[in-house]
Each structure stands twice: as C-alpha cells, then as structure tokens.
Amino acid sequence: MTRLDDLESQSIFVLREAYARLKNIALLWSLGKDSNVMIWLARKAFFGRVPFPALHVDTGKKFPEMYAFRERYAKEWNLDLQVEPCPPIETVDPTLPPAARSAARKTEGLKAALAKHGFDGLIAGIRRDEEATRAKERVFSLRGAEGIWDVRDQAPEFWNHFNASPPPGAHLRIHPILQWTEADIWAYTQREAIPIIPLYLSRDGKRYRSLGDMDITHPIPSQAATVAEILTELRTTKVSERAGRAMDHESEDAFERLRVAGYL
C-alpha cells in the first residue's frame, strides 16, 4: 500500500468506528481543504452517502468563494447541511487577544450547535502537523461539559481502540485525519480530484494556505497556481502552514487557551 492508501484506510476505519460507536454525530465542515478531504473519505467509507449531518459553524465572515462552494457542494454531494451561526463578538471572553477572541466566537457557535442537536460526537479535520497542541491530540478526544479539553487527563488510546463512551453532557471530538500532513492532503486532493476553493491557488502572486475568517486570515506570497505546484512549493517551504492565522501568534498561550475552551 502507498502512504496515501494507508492514510485513507486508517481514516475510513476511524469514521466507521465513530458512526458505529456513537449515537448522534456530525462532521464539522469548514469548507477548507482538510474538511473537504474528510467528506470525501466519509463518502468512501459509507459508499457514497454521508450518513450524518455536515455542520458548518458559520462566523458570517467567510470569503464569498467559501459560501458559493458550500451551496454548490452541499447539493452535489447530497449532504445534510446544517448551518450554525455564531453569536455576536460581545458575548465572547474579552480577556482574549483580538484575533483569538474573534476565533473563539466559533467555539460559542459550536456549543450552541451541540446544545441544539445533542451531538455526542463531532468529527473534526485537525491534523497533528498544523500546531503543537494539536500534535498532542487523541483520535477520539473527550470534551467535558462546556466543551472543555482536559489535556492533563487524556485517556490512553492504542492499537486502534478508542474511548467512545462520553459521560452525559460530554462529547467526543473524532479526528480521522489527525495523522495526515498538509502535503498528504494536497496529494490526495490531486489523486482523487476533489474540488477545492480557488483561493488556495495563486492569483497575483498570492494564495491562501489556510482559510479562516476574512479579517484574521492572510494570504502568503506564492506562484503555485495548481495543486501540483502547491505540492512542489511545500517540499521546499520553511514557512509553517498557520503562519497566516493571526490568532496563533498573538501570545504564547492564546491557541492553547482557545483549544482548552473547546476550539478545534
């Protein structure tokens, strides 16, 4: 098996475990490259139809291209799309630095969706290579009441056996692509011809490597105008993927605080 085949099989295994062992799950669809790969994997896992909702926690500040993408592919892929708007910024922890605070709105939206739908599992497309606290994640990761991540007390997880019994009020985050790298995502996107938002491709010497809210996400200088060129670029770049995400860099602990409070 090639590396991509191996990753694909592992992710499909995880998606099927989540669906079999939990009662009420949804897949978090941020419209980005990672969650599109995840939807593709879910369609493979369940032979064409994603058997749970695709939840878009919508800050209302995404790029127009992202909304267009959402409307088109929700239909084309026959998804059960659920959109959860985020509450106004005033309701979010004012002690957070500005960009982190803006990002934390998404956590609030996520909590609202959890309360509304009573999900016991949310499938999220985070990867270990993105960021150092994500590197410490489990595949099935418990979020206590209020969505809190207790990083000091993560359960053991080994040999593809997962902890899938969240106590009442808690839920699990399931991370099927935790083990993938940014390059894996693009190589797979290319191999499987998965549609992407064009903002990832270079226009006027710039492209987005990671897509978040319009006001706190910045493009990088790049000439990569095709997925193949992105792959070539990644082989030599020394810039980290989330360099363009303001919230990661405001203070040493900003991102950890976000994540502990329930951010992805």
Binding site: F47, A132, V151, S165, T181, E252
Partner: protein, 685 residues
Amino acid sequence: MALPEPQIAEQADANAARPRAQVRIVIVGHVDHGKSTLIGRLLHETGSLPEGKLEMLKAVSARRDVAFEWSFLLDALQTERNQGITIDTSQIRFRTKDRDVLLIDAPGHAEFLRNMITGAAQADAAILIVDAAEGVRNQTRRHGYLLHLLGVRQVAVVINKIDKVGYDAARFQSVRAEIETYLTGLGLSIGAVIPISARDGDGVAKRTDKIGWYDGPTVLEAIDGLEPPPVAADLPLRLPVQAVYRIGDERIVAGRIESGRVRIGDDIVVMPGAKQARVKTIESWPALVGAPPPSEAGAGQSIGITLDRELYVDRGHLISATAEPVSSVESLRARVFWLHRAALEVGTRLVVRIGTAEARGVIKAIESAIDPGEVTAAPGLSIPQNHVGEVEIALAQPLATDPHEANAGMGRIVLEYGGRIAGGGLVLSVEAELAPHIPRDLVALAEDAARLNLQFRALSAADRIERFCAEVEGRIVFTTSFGIEDQLIAHLLWTSGAEIEIAAIDTGRFFPEVYALWAETERRYGKRIRAIYPRQDSLSRLVESQGIDGFYDSRAARLACCHVRKVEPLSRALDGAHGWITGLRAGQSDHRRTLDLVAADTGRGLLKLNPLLDLGRAEIEAMVRTAVIPINPLHAKGFPSIGCAPCTRAIEPGEPERAGRWWWENEDKKECGLHLTAQGARRKF
C-alpha cells in the same frame, strides 16, 4: 547561546516524489533524561524547523528565565513548559537521506505512563535514552519492559548528557553495560548504543571531537538503519466486522483487514457461530470509470464486501478464511499492563476488546504480577497501576482471537474499566472452543453480592442506588409494577440523574388505575417507561388452552399464565443486563423476610438490588408524601399490593400485605416466578 547551523540540507526535489519508507520512532526513558531535547535537536540538525521557530523557542525560554530549551518545541502546553516536564505524547516529522521519520515523544514521568503507552504503541522502533550521570532508573526499566510488551522490537540506546560526565568514555561504558544487561534480559535486541549530548548536539548528527573515542553511528545514522513494519499480508485472513451497511438491496459488510488477503470467490467463515459463505463482491466508491471493480484486497485496507448468501453478520463478528479459521474462546491467558488507579485483582470485572468485538470478562487468576520498574521485582497477587502481569480472563461472550505469537494484530487485547481504556496486553494462549453461551463467573458474582450486601446496610435507599450504579458495570434495569415502592424508586432514579432503564411488564390484565398512573408518572417526570409485552403467539396459545380466566382453575394454570404474561417478558427485559433493581420489601411476606439487599441472581447472571428491602410501609408512605410522588389510588382502598386485576383483591385490616394476591391460593406459595433464588432455581413455593 550560539546555535550551530543545520548540518543536513533539505533533500533535493528529485527523489521527493519517489515513495520513501516511513518509520515511526518513539523516544522513551526516565523523566528528564532528555527525550524532548533530543527531538528538538534532531529537528534542528536536519534543518526541519520552520522559519521563526528557533526565535520562538528562545523567547519562550527567556520568558521563563531558563537557558535555551529544545524540549519546548514539543512540550507545547503551558503546564509542560512551566514545569519543565512532558505530560502528553506528541509527534513530529522530519526526513533523513533515506527515510520519512515520524518521531514520537513520550513522557518519562510515571504518572503519565498511559500517555507513554499511547505514543509507544504507534511506533515501529524506539530510542531508549539514559542519562549518563544518573544511569538506569525506574522508568528506564519500565519503558524497556513495555516496549517489549507492546511489540516494539527494534531498540537503539542513547547515553545522553555525556557533557555532564566530562565526555568520559569509562562512564559511558559502565552505563552501557548496565542497560545492555537489562534489555538483553528482557529478550530485546539492541542496535547501536550512542553517547550524545542532546543539548549541544554531540553524537546526534555528527561525531564531535569531544566524543572522539566513539566510532559508532550517530543518532541520525542509527535512525536510517531502523526498518518500517512488515506487512501482515502473508498471514491467514482476519477481517473484523465494523458494521453492515444496507445500500440498495445489498448488505455490505465493512471492516479493515487485519491480516491476510480476501478475493472474490473466497470461502469464508464468520465467527462466532461458524457460519460459512463465499465472497461475492468487493465494493468500492466511487466506481472507477473504465476500470473493473476490485477483485481482491489485503491487510491494512478498509473494505466492504458482499456475501453470496443471507447470513446474520454484525459488528464484532470476525471473518476468516475457511481453510485457516480463527477460534472463538471463552477464556484466555494474557500478559497485560494495567493503568488504572485501582489495582487489577482476581474478581475484577472489565470489558475485553479484540478487533471490533467486545465482551465482559472477569479476572479468574493472576499467575504473575511484577513491577517492571524495580530491579528485583517481587511477584504479587494483584496488579497495581503501571505494573504488569500474566492473567487468566473468563469471558461472558466468546471472542475470536489468535495467540499473539501467531498473529500480532489479532492477539492483542484492550481492557476497558469504568468506560475508559485501562490496560492492554498480548494473548498468550487460548482455551479450546466452548459452547457459544457461557454464564458469567458465578463465584465472583456471589462474592460481589455478599460484599455489597454488607456495605449497603448502613446506607440510605438513594445512596444504595447510587453505589449500585457505580459498582455494576454494564446495563442496569429497574422493573416497575407501579406499586408505591416502585414509584418511590422511580422517583429516586429520575431525580438522581442515573442512566437506568425503567421497564414495565404489561401483562394486559392491569387495573385501569395502573395505566392511568403509568401515564401520569411519565408526564410528571418527562420520561418514558419501556413497555414489555407477552409474546403474542404464546399468549394466544395459553388463552386457547385454559380460557381467558383459566388461572382460577388450578395453581398450574395460574403459574402458566404468570409465565407467559410476566416471567418470559421479564427475561427479555433483563436480557444482557448486569444489574436489576426491584421494589421488594422484607415486610411484604414471610419469605421476602429472608431476602438480601443485594443478591446474586446467578440464573440470569446479574446482581439484584432491593434498595427498600428493610424499609417499613409507613416510612415509604412518608417519603412519598414528602416528595409528592404520584401513587395508585387503589392503595387507599385496601390494596397494599397490586398485581393483575383478576388476581388481586382488597384486604382487611390485619391481613398480611400480599394476602390479596391470588387469594384463593396458600399464603406461602404466592410468588409468580419472577424472583429466583441464588442457586438460580425458582424458589420452592
């Protein structure tokens, strides 16, 4: 401090596209011996750190008033950085000349052994690190032992902080001898033993003058000698079933192949039950344009197959090749590690998982138990947290497994305790295949009952229920017949928030008041009570043979009726349950006086709690009044005990409580067969 320039330049693009072997390496060893530092250093030496990372690490170190710390690269959590210790395992990638390397950092502190195992279980190889000044310590030994148990067989050793012992070759040799003796004693074969200074870089990517006396490989060279894992394609087919999906008219059996290969037309056998079939198709999505559908698949692949005949296949079943079938066992011996705070003891009940299957199990025997951290491990009778041992486990349902020697993947068990993974291990041997349904360990059950019975005497009814829920692993059912005792218990359950199923067996002959109370109770608590009905076919047959009120004719007829309307439905209500709560009270009849608070219903293989056993009628009435719990109005009209309408009459003051039930029969025979004795036989009436 001055940082040297990266030694190895980024790989040329030319071979980047070529498939490269990936090897996953865990770094283990005692706390503070330098695991995280070595990883930071390796990333730096290979030029793998992203732009700005070094400056970030400098700032993070300066903020904490410490000299430059490489460990902060992976110790990303605030508590980790503030305490200078790794808490949870982490992973990072880099490339060497020949390999894609995934480095797995593991914590060295004993408290976080579960995280070390989480990391190490994913590794193909390990680097065991030993502080040159401190030498072999507890966690060095413990980690070495666990590597062996986890099946990580390629181990390189680094003797770190060689700067702290003045680059002394003799010291290196003595620590080397110490660790080599220990590891070879475990049966691990050791690759290189390398002197390094993870902090300063000596021995990591280059042999420096300071360790000029050493001419073996560097850490980087040793890494290039580690092999990726072998593929389990040559073993017999083992396919644990994850789920069966109904797509159109097809039932697709989905799972990931653990070992072997599967081809269209292969004869397979499904365990448990040894049902046989032939593989009809291998399904895939999306259908490949212009290419034939797949005709075979191998180990590691997640697939879906259809079979040539309608078999009952479900999650937890195991598909294996008919020629080399898996065996399904009710008892196994395993070498296990244990991570839970409460020690693993004979009688401990847990859930055993193998592949996608799970079964309840009980520890029947502990053959050996040792602390792998100690030099001379004294054997014990129980396996405390972070210790290892060999145990015999009896299973309540058979599980399909192979000994670990024969099939590494199928011979691994995971132990779950209190809903969380608490241990794991290797199957050493299995007992010959046995009958499909095995009663739970009756002795253990009786012992549990006796212990709880004693403990529960001093507790309130509410506390008894709470403790019972905590003690019993698995489903607990409360069966109500809507009498005053049952109403009180329902109230206690629902207001405590316990996740207990409440079931009512609707005989079809209740008083109208009972149905009214049923509805009112559901409304009041906003909950549903699960209704269980007699089997329609048995009921028709019963009424046909004895008439609609035949139970008045003879005791045999009455018992037959009770059997069809109550006893059989009850067994369905309790099927698979491990706990049963009832409203029996000692004061209700002479023979109920002899009951226990907690009893083993060995016939049904469950523990039974009678939380109100020692309460008097008046006490219960008072509690019901205070909490304003709805009760049956018939109680006020001379019906202390309410069963089916035709079989219950009002009683006179002074008569025993159950005198109004089957009043035409003798007092000492009045049970319907729901409540069994500890021996599993119905009580002699």
